[in-house]
């Protein structure tokens, strides 16, 4: 027992020294988690799309059409930068990317309601970005509903004001965005990015340690050959205990300091969150140790891990609704700590779920922790045996 603890301590010390001495590993463990979250949050810090430049083609040129344009231009999402004589001119501006939408008001716009007919406006949107389209459309429909209400009221000249209001809108509606009320882009995407940064930086860092070991070890093995590394348990534990404190600091930076810097939503209980993040960190650490066996060289982690961030983001259920992901991909996503990490973190942090409400994710992360610990244990066990046999051959 004493020997095991001593060996764990020995491996732990060696591992910390190795991390501190290797600038590549430090880049992944420290620089990347420090820098990436700040950069990403900065990119999305405006949260939404404002003042999308557009052109109008007003063929009616009446009091009503001008009122429509004025109201539209007053919306936060819209900025009328050009008034064009015809669609050809407007289309050219669209091609030059000076505008992203065209509003065309036909010549009969102000006459039709007088005759009891429906008035139309046409909105043309460049579909290179869906957020621009959404901003323009929402502003235009709000203006149309508002003007429509006025037309409806004018159609009921003899009714009392109360009766008018009832006829125009017999049912009232309220819309509430319960969470992320301003539909902020950063508020939505950053939590997922933060979780992924932790998992991916561990994959890269631990992979580099393993690859470097193989590169430099004369038996092309991931372990030095000495008495402290004879059994897999102290090796796995020693390494994990070396990474854990580093990532405890990283987690504080990523989940407390960065969101504070940019004033991101944090409605969850802090301690619920820290309790939840522990199995996530452990699962990531053992996951990274397991996958590090794929790294045959110091550079390999870049080549095989970096690209996975994007698919992982999409199967986590944050960018693409989980109900629209085919079942086999959902099942596949369950082997990655990031999937549960993102789910649980978003629920606690953005939806204010209590600890009990994320117990499914919490327990799953412990299951993953145990599973990857076992895998890492078995792989190191095999590695130690291979190392022994190679050494015997040399002798």
């Amino acid at each position: 027992m004493k020997k095991i603890i001593y060996n764990i301590w020995y491996v732990w010390k060696k591992e910390l020294k190795a991390v501190a001495a290797d600038s590549a590993v430090l880049t992944f463990f420290v620089a990347l988690p420090l820098f990436y979250p700040v950069l990403y949050t900065y990119i999305y810090s405006n949260e939404g799309v404002f003042k999308v430049p557009v052109a109008v083609v007003d063929r009616d040129n009446s009091y009503e059409s001008r009122a429509f344009i004025r109201a539209w231009n007053a919306s936060s999402g819209v900025d009328v930068v050009a008034r064009c004589a015809d669609m050809e001119e407007a289309r050219r501006l669209l091609w030059k990317k000076q505008i992203y939408g065209i509003l065309e008001i036909p010549a009969d716009f102000s006459h039709r309601p007088i005759n009891g007919e429906q008035a139309h406006v046409s909105l043309y949107c460049d579909m290179g970005g869906l957020l621009n389209y959404k901003a323009l459309l929402q502003a235009a429909s709000n203006v149309a509903v508002g003007m429509g209400r006025i037309v409806q009221l004018e159609g009921l000249p003899y009714a009392s004001p109360v009766r008018q209001e009832q006829t125009v809108a017999p049912v009232q509606m309220t819309e509430v965005k319960l969470f992320n009320p301003q539909s902020g882009y950063a508020t939505f995407i950053i939590p997922a990015i933060l979780i992924l940064v932790i998992q991916q930086s561990l994959l890269l860092g631990v992979g580099t340690i393993a690859g470097t070991g193989r590169d430099r070890n004369r038996f092309r093995a991931m372990l030095p050959f000495n008495v402290h590394y004879e059994h897999p348990f102290p090796v796995v534990m020693g390494k994990a205990l070396a990474y854990l404190p580093i990532y405890a600091f990283v987690a504080i930076w990523i989940f407390v300091v960065v969101p504070g810097m940019f004033n991101l939503t944090r409605i969850g209980e802090k301690w619920d969150f820290f309790l939840f993040i522990l199995p996530f960190l452990l699962a990531c650490i053992f996951f990274a140790m397991t996958l590090s066996f794929l790294c045959k060289e110091r550079e390999t982690p870049f080549l095989i891990f970096v690209f996975t961030s994007v698919p992982l983001m999409f199967i986590s259920g944050i960018s693409w609704p989980v109900t629209s992901i085919p079942d086999y991909w959902v099942a596949f996503s369950k082997v990655f700590p990031s999937t549960y990490g993102i789910e649980g973190y978003v629920k606690i942090n953005s939806l204010g779920a209590t600890f009990g409400e994320v117990s499914r994710e919490f327990n799953s992360l412990w299951v993953l922790t145990a599973f990857y610990f076992l895998l890492a244990y078995l792989l190191y066990d095999r590695e130690i045996r291979i190392l022994k046999s190679r050494r015997l051959k040399v002798k």
Partner: protein
């Protein structure tokens, strides 16, 4: 002749190790197929919502039914009260709540203006906004149904009615993506971004291997000590291989998935060709700048990952902070995205896109700046080994 020798040598080296097969073919193609499969519906449908029906009359039940009939919404839960529904939302089981108040039917018919409420969760921005759209439409329809009953009683005809219910209509023309398909707008950029990433990695890694294994000496000797030949032989070989993967990507997007290709094939093929070459140009610049191969790989990884955000296909570059708007131009994927919008999506004349084509061309020329440094690196390796 040196060039052909180097190219032959490069093919042998690439064929020799599995990691190259992984980067040039397996990983990008897996990503293509993954996203093609994930987005196969185009737009998410049947998003789960809850209804809290406190009225429970024929009118409220018919409202519920017609909301369920919308393609993008599926009622998976009928909650007794709001708290229950909110809990389900916090647990991520539903993306929206539609609340019908008590006495809804009675109040609506007696002119007491009952209030329908709908709640969405924009922490999941895509389902949140899709459901918001459906619920808003549903509430407007509810309004219309009551109004319709009131007005029909006054003897109005159908066209008069629609003019009365909705006097000002917005006709929407989403240019070249009338289906509002998310698949189109995501896949067109996600897939090429992987090619750009792996083109950078492969070039930097393969040069690193030459240095690490001490074969840079042989490489330079076979190039007759011309750095231009050495780099061109390696780069062109990899470019041609990636062009096969790239063409597969274009064929998948425009032929099998039938995404809009309003420019014809050539402008996008040219864009793909330039994207790969530009990524390689950027990669070589990094190899030249950083003495250590790992740092060059790191910066390429940074560029590749940032490309997914900064190319602006999900969040417009125009809405980013100003330094980022400028910074975005340093990414080949940004220019590829602009070319895609102009050419494949909108099919506008190529002369409007010249600046993006030229920008990619400039990336290809970047290695010229560091040729002497590159040569020094390779030659130093010769002496060391």
């Amino acid at each position: 002749m040196g060039l052909i020798t180097i190219m032959k040598r490069e093919i042998r080296q690439l064929a020799f190790r599995r990691i190259y097969l992984f980067m040039i073919v397996i990983a990008p193609v897996l990503c293509f197929l993954f996203f093609a499969d994930l987005f196969k519906g185009g737009v998410p449908v049947n998003l789960p919502v809850a209804v809290v029906d406190l009225d429970n009359t024929s009118v409220s039940r018919s409202l519920t039914r017609s909301l369920d009939a919308f393609g993008q919404t599926e009622i998976v839960m009928k909650a007794e009260n709001f708290t229950e529904a909110r809990k389900a939302m916090q647990e991520g089981k539903i993306y929206g709540i539609f609340l019908i108040p008590a006495h809804f039917q009675r109040d609506a018919s007696s002119g007491k203006e009952p209030v329908l409420s709908f709640y969405t969760n924009d922490s999941y921005i895509l389902p949140g906004s899709l459901i918001y759209k459906d619920m808003r439409l549903q509430a407007a329809l509810a309004n219309g149904a009551v109004q319709r009953a009131l007005l029909q009683a006054k003897g109005m005809t159908e066209p008069q009615l629609s003019a009365r219910l909705n006097p000002v209509a917005v006709d929407i023309h989403p240019l070249n993506n009338p289906w509002l398909s998310y698949a189109i707008y995501l896949s067109n950029i996600l897939m090429p971004a992987f090619i750009s990433m792996f083109a950078m990695f492969t070039l930097v890694f393969s040069i690193g291997e030459e240095l690490k294994r001490g074969t840079a000496c042989e490489w330079m000797r076979l190039s007759r000590h011309s750095i231009g030949v050495a780099i061109a032989g390696k780069g062109i070989t990899q470019l041609l291989l990636f062009l096969i993967t790239g063409t597969f990507c274009l064929v998948l997007l425009y032929r099998f998935l039938h995404f809009p290709l309003n420019s014809g094939f050539f402008p996008m093929f040219l864009a793909m060709f330039l994207l790969i070459a530009a990524s390689q140009g950027f990669a070589l610049l990094m190899v030249g700048i950083f003495p250590r191969n790992r740092l060059a790989l790191s910066s390429c990884a940074l560029w590749a990952v940032l490309s997914f955000s900064i190319s602006g296909f999900t969040f417009p570059v125009r809405s980013m902070p100003e330094p980022m708007q400028w910074f975005a131009n340093l990414f080949p994927m940004r220019h590829y995205f602009l070319l895609y919008v102009d050419q494949a999506l909108n099919g506008i004349p190529m002369e409007y896109s010249w600046s993006s084509y030229v920008a990619l061309g400039i990336f290809i020329l970047l290695p010229v700046l560091v040729l002497s440094r590159l040569k020094a690196q390779f030659v130093r390796n010769v002496y060391l080994s």
